[in-house]
């Protein structure tokens, strides 16, 4: 697969067409782009939109989407990372106005010392505001806070056909609704107003609790969701029938006594050789991880970054899956279909292809903030699979069957291969969404699931 892509790349560069390779976080698929625009200022964006051919552009941020939803095969990207100004922050109300390339990390750097934190944060701080809105990201507090989009009060959107459009609850509310979770297809966000939330400080009262079956996970989850703002579980998908995992839960701590010093971490220098990651090494890792957490002190006060962003400590951790990259599989299964979840885990355990990053979380019942929002009531599970060609894709197809049959859904931000049928089943509003797409925008993902246009 990747060999082929590399050959295509070479051919294209030989033929003299300028091409740029931009990879998503999963480093699969390997795609060449015709051009990457890098505007430094919002005033340059309308010009880029005007000059482009229909269906040729896609805004791109820090590239933390795993699959192809942030890519635009053979066409163009607008790299928004230089549009990173914070245009205003009201310390009294916690409202912050950011350009689309501002990262969540920047927001935390600016606001945490003043007692404000993100109302919803995903598992990495290295995503842009644009990306967080476009994928309507969720976090460990979905059960009580909903998604990121629920805190977006206002968006200014560059549209190729009608200039700068302001979207809020009164003005263009449907465009706001479409842009949240809109996969970047509705236009380029000039700036967005985000509501932050008050916190006492950078500390989290965290607990971890081992569990050994789905039912005990559900018990823990039900018991914790009322008392804890943040809950999530790590899952050992190699344990097979006797499933096990660690349940993490936490609240913002009132503790302010300690000084907070952010720590840097290592960085993976290059793609790890493929043989390093096999069922034995992953099994051993999982066993060690489980043992350490099952026997360590269950309650402690930890810094927010190690609680929310443990993987950010290792920069470029995605290289651990080798040069072929990896696929992440995140689906949501209705709560009443625990049997489907068990079936899913069985199939994964049977394949021997799972990895160390199995995450399980119970979503709450907050209404979706966007037209194509992924989170919905049920159980969501996310797993990484190193890309091993056909074999990996086949396994994921068998998982799709279970998800579709149970009435669940797959998460576009993590996807590089779902079928149009599953997308349509997951997002019944996708046809209504089409009319909100900016005529100059398209993405690899969108063409794959909705047909080329």
């Amino acid at each position: 697969m990747s060999g082929q892509a590399a050959a295509t790349l070479r051919r294209q560069s030989v033929s003299g067409l300028p091409t740029t390779r931009v990879l998503s976080w999963g480093r699969y698929p390997k795609i060449a782009h015709q051009y990457v625009h890098k505007p430094g200022w919002n005033d340059q964006v309308p010009g880029i939109l005007q000059a482009a051919a229909p269906g040729s552009l896609l805004p791109h941020g820090l590239g933390r989407s795993y699959g192809d939803s942030c890519l635009n095969d053979g066409r163009q990207l607008i790299d928004c990372r230089r549009l990173n100004r914070i245009l205003g922050f009201d310390e009294a109300s916690g409202m912050i106005r950011c350009e689309s390339g501002v990262s969540l990390s920047d927001i935390i750097d600016v606001t945490l010392s003043k007692g404000w934190f993100l109302s919803v944060t995903p598992g990495t701080r290295f995503v842009t505001i644009g990306g967080a809105v476009a994928n309507d990201v969720h976090g460990k507090n979905h059960h009580c806070a909903g998604t990121f989009g629920a805190y977006v009060r206002q968006i200014a959107l560059h549209r190729s056909n009608d200039g700068l459009v302001i979207c809020n609850a009164e003005e263009n509310p449907d465009m706001l609704h479409a842009t949240i979770g809109g996969l970047g297809l509705t236009g380029v966000i000039a700036w967005a107003d985000i509501q932050l939330k008050r916190v006492a400080g950078p500390w989290i009262d965290a607990e971890c609790e081992p569990f050994e079956s789905i039912s005990s996970f559900l018990d823990l989850s039900r018991d914790s969701d009322g008392r804890f703002e943040y809950t999530v579980a790590w899952l050992d998908c190699f344990a097979g029938k006797n499933l096990r995992g660690i349940f993490f839960r936490g609240n913002h701590s009132a503790d302010q006594g300690k000084d907070f010093h952010p720590r840097g971490g290592p960085r993976l220098p290059f793609a790890m050789p493929n043989w390093m990651l096999n069922r034995y090494s992953v099994k051993a890792f999982n066993k060690a991880y489980y043992t350490v957490h099952a026997y360590k002190e269950s309650a402690e006060v930890v810094p927010y970054d190690s609680f929310f962003y443990p993987l950010d400590r290792v920069r470029r951790w995605n290289l651990v899956y080798g040069k072929n990259g990896f696929l992440q599989y995140q689906c949501v299964i209705p709560e009443t279909r625990v049997d489907a979840l068990e079936e899913l885990l069985d199939r994964i355990a049977g394949s021997g292809m799972g990895s160390f990053l199995g995450v399980l979380k119970q979503f709450g019942s907050a209404p979706p903030a966007g037209m194509l929002s992924f989170p919905r009531p049920g159980l969501t599970i996310a797993l990484d699979f190193a890309m091993r060609g056909e074999r990996t894709l086949k396994l994921m197809q068998t998982l799709d069957e279970v998800v579709q049959q149970s009435g669940g859904a797959l998460y576009p931000a993590k996807d590089a291969r779902m079928s149009p049928a599953l997308f349509e089943a997951s997002f019944p509003h996708c046809h209504d969404f089409v009319s909100y797409i900016d005529p100059k925008m398209s993405s690899s993902f969108w063409r794959r699931v909705m047909g080329a246009r």
């Binding site: 890098k38 005033d43 990372r81 100004r85 990390s105 750097d109 290295f126």
Partner: protein, 265 residues
């Protein structure tokens, strides 16, 4: 392309000494200047931003206030036009009179081939990168010399360390500025005014986006961090950033001209 924002994680805000600083940035909308300003804002500095586009200056002004700058003023002028310097100096004396540091951060990199075929392009390149910069530095040097304190810093380039066939006009303009700073440093040393020559290697900015391999160039955030740290500390006189370029350029300068003239880069 994703890891760059994480590189060069910023130093936490430091002591009160720096918080008192009043800094003028000439060419405040240049990519490297943007990163330096963020660092300075985090440390609570007061800033005067000078650039061409008033709306862009207003945008950065808002951002820097959020990042912690005590005060941010803006002044729009085309610094390449020497006639506009007087107005700037007047504004500084009036609204920002006790400034202690000046960072000159603007520059232009035209296509080398254009500069070989068009004398106008050549003249423009030298005017922007050297003549106007030297004029400004002279004005500010007079001011600081009278006060017997302060710091002048200017961004030149490693390209000024040796003339190369692929961009010697840019290199000459930056090299001339480096020499100018060298002399100025010597002149101002006795009165206690510091002069810093900043020589970045290739950096990922709009100026270099069109060059091959630009994805491998240094992260502006890292460079901005180095520069802010240099403004804060007492050393060095000449800052290479990223630091590896000090060693690279030392080696490059050793290559005999008979060999160097044959190298096609």
């Amino acid at each position: 392309m994703s890891e760059s924002t994480e590189a060069g994680r910023v130093k936490p805000p430091t002591g009160s000494f720096f918080a008192m600083k009043k800094i003028i940035v000439l060419g405040a909308t240049s990519s490297i200047a943007l990163e330096v300003q963020r660092q300075l804002a985090r440390r609570g500095c007061q800033l005067l931003l000078v650039g061409r586009a008033p709306e862009r200056l207003a945008e950065i002004q808002a951002d820097l206030v959020v990042w912690g700058a005590k005060q941010v003023l803006t002044y729009s002028a085309d610094l390449a036009v020497i006639q506009q310097h007087v107005g700037l100096m007047e504004f500084c004396r009036r609204a920002f009179f006790d400034f202690d540091t000046v960072l000159l951060a603007y520059g232009s990199m035209r296509n080398q081939k254009d500069c070989e075929t068009s004398i106008e392009a050549l003249r423009e390149e030298l005017q922007v990168n050297f003549v106007s910069a030297a004029a400004l530095l002279t004005l500010f040097a007079a001011d600081l010399e009278r006060r017997r304190a302060g710091c002048l810093a200017a961004i030149t380039s490693v390209a000024g360390d040796r003339g190369r066939r692929s961009n010697y006009v840019y290199g000459a303009s930056k090299g001339a500025l480096s020499l100018f700073l060298q002399g100025l440093r010597s002149r101002l040393h006795p009165v206690g005014v510091r002069v810093i020559t900043i020589k970045p290697g290739p950096v990922q900015t709009p100026m270099t986006d069109h060059l091959p391999n630009s994805a491998r160039f240094a992260d502006p955030k890292e460079v901005g961090c180095d520069i802010a740290n240099a403004l804060e500390s007492r050393s060095p006189d000449v800052l290479y950033t990223p630091r590896i370029w000090r060693y690279v350029m030392t080696a490059v300068q050793q290559i005999p001209e008979t060999i160097f003239k044959r190298l096609a880069f």
